[in-house]
Assembly symmetry: C2
Homo-oligomer: 457 residues x 2
Amino acid sequence: MRNYIMPILLACTLPALAVAQEKDSVTLRKLADEVLTHSTAYENLRILTKQIGGRLAGSPQMVKAEQWGVKALKAAGADTVYLQECMVPHWIRGAKEEARIISKRRDFIPPLEVLALGNSVGSGPDGVNALVLEVASFDDLEAKKDQVKGKIVFYNYHFNPTFIKTFYSYGDAVKYRGQGASRAAKYGAVAVIVRSMTHGANNFPHTGAMQYDSAYPKIPAVAIGLEDADRLSQRLKDDNSASVFLRTNCEMKKDTIGHNVIAELRGSKYPDQYITVGGHLDSWDVAEGAHDDGTGCVQSIEVLRAFKALGMKPEHTLRVVLFANEENGTRGGKKYAEVAKTRQEKHVFALESDAGGFTPRGFTTTMDAAHKAKMNSWKPLFAPYGIYDFDEPGGGVDVGQLNEAIGTPMAELSPDSQRYFDIHHAANDVFEAVNKRELELGAFGMAGFIYLVDQNF
Amino acid sequence: MRNYIMPILLACTLPALAVAQEKDSVTLRKLADEVLTHSTAYENLRILTKQIGGRLAGSPQMVKAEQWGVKALKAAGADTVYLQECMVPHWIRGAKEEARIISKRRDFIPPLEVLALGNSVGSGPDGVNALVLEVASFDDLEAKKDQVKGKIVFYNYHFNPTFIKTFYSYGDAVKYRGQGASRAAKYGAVAVIVRSMTHGANNFPHTGAMQYDSAYPKIPAVAIGLEDADRLSQRLKDDNSASVFLRTNCEMKKDTIGHNVIAELRGSKYPDQYITVGGHLDSWDVAEGAHDDGTGCVQSIEVLRAFKALGMKPEHTLRVVLFANEENGTRGGKKYAEVAKTRQEKHVFALESDAGGFTPRGFTTTMDAAHKAKMNSWKPLFAPYGIYDFDEPGGGVDVGQLNEAIGTPMAELSPDSQRYFDIHHAANDVFEAVNKRELELGAFGMAGFIYLVDQNF
């Protein structure tokens, strides 16, 4: 008889399921229409990027951005908006960096466009002038370790074009930015230059966080763009006595006060159970922080606005969080998780958007099999919107802290990744690089996902 | 016993299928690596757009583009390259259009940025100066038909933001560009102004083909951008005596000679059976024709280059066709189909790329159920590349002629559509709007599809 149970059960449950999916399908369509027709995300982003701009932790722009966040969340219709204090690192770039190739060949050599890596020490006012050792990888560094002493190590590791999702190329290459300085300092290097993590067919240097290993001296670290990296590499082939002069003026100051900006839409059924949706409010100083992560902030605000505009009352309390200091410390994400744990808050789910405001393709997730099975049943609901990819593990750096602390199931919006590393941490991450509809479709995807989580998790 | 046949058959065939898919999977990976590492598509596009630029049928640039096509196809490794002559329309824009609002209110009014619609008549040297009747739709026009006489009709139909794929918004709105002039002339209008078919948050006017109904007088037709459309609409509300002065200098001349540029890679097994892959070489005059359809041309060339570079010999003869005159006549596509029919050529399949060089998401197709079933079995092969959408009917304007004439199964690359109508037929359709990797992923998708068709159709 056993074989007959399933069909009978199916016969009973399928119509109920179909009715539920029909209702959900209608709600998603309403959310899409609302966001694609009345979204304030693009205009919010314009204000954040054009009127405030780069907003690194500890900077005056960080404070302005927090005030902007409070205002934007109130305008979106939040029940309450408040600041959650946390200490943040305070790294400053100082005066613009300088770098040039010094070569016995007497042709004109334009200066190198460099950016100090975040958290790195400065070179001091006299700068560094040294021969350059180019290495293709850490293996190559190890092979050449006897030649490192007194030199500038130039990591010329290429961003791998054969990964389809560019985040894999980033994961593959970013260790040279993060660990390159200390790995070279171990063998006596005086500074490092890192080829930028990008496919961008231009010369923008891409900054980003680096960390020192306390076992070795702290040496200056900078990034250069692809054209300069190729030019430097060629010069070293043509003239093996070529040196580089490098001066950076950055400095790590004492920690200072920053804030997560938090808004709530109170839950109708479970007001003390939380669903979090957020992006990070800080950005690198050299750009407008449009895709990283202005778009994640305004999309998260849009989720709340769309719910409110449509009169949709979430059963659980919806929390929009604009996280502090993702870029060089994750202190905002850590504080949010720490408070949630201390207060024994019940967190049902957390969603992040920090992979760019491009056309959404799906969500990366970290959750147990039962939640995953529920989520997979939503695939037909998202298919009409070109959102189909739910299979990749992931979550997001900030909500990842919550997952780590108290096991909250989590997801991150997964947009088309092709253009992200063209602008990531570089001066061209500006408002104009964001397409209004792509941004809005992402915001819709997040709103739809949150709606379904609220109903089903 | 019947119930046992399937499992046994499956047990025998599945390993064979699995082996075949494994081989295909390896080949697709090789194609992807080749295209993403060594593609010449982006550099080819740079030359076509920056050194030749806009290349409307009948223009001197059309001739240069044909010469470029021959050269690029030879460089890609074609066995033969030849020109296929066809007569093409010869419409010229003439001196730059002028338009301004004339209002009794004495504030400064900047001129309207207008573009004559392709194929439209000019206004004559004195221009047209008339009151303006704004209509929201053809229904609105019919309701106001008694007010049309002697006026300029302004079609202010909005591009619908709630369609997810923007081609649906285009399909919904393009009738105002195509038929608007004659529908208004029927009631005595002296000219028409059409709101551009775009979501673009800017003021670029978007041109494109229009057709006259010979039953009514031919009147001038122009497009304006969204900012000007909103400005004109507001002015008409503020001052119902406002008129518009319009001068266009365009003209339809006698048909002239153009060419399809055709290259072949000879089939190893079925040299007299053809698989076509192509885009159109012509573009509107006012832009560089980068996405429309420079990308389709260079992607088609890249398919041949990648096959050749990897030593892959197609079983059927692969024909790359750069079609003449898609924009305002489709004469190239018609000629290609006509010759194929006359010569009783056997065409196995035809693929087009004419929807922009953005990240590929799938293919739209027109083919019978048996072919479709084969194609659907390839879905797992394309999934790792983010190419998943094979369900939409379609094909492409140029290869559509072949389908119509002799029933050839066909497909069109279906890229992410969000940004296409931001630049379609407007001055901002330039090389810089194309992302190298997005372009290459599309070329890979086409190469993979062609490979599988060659093996299985």
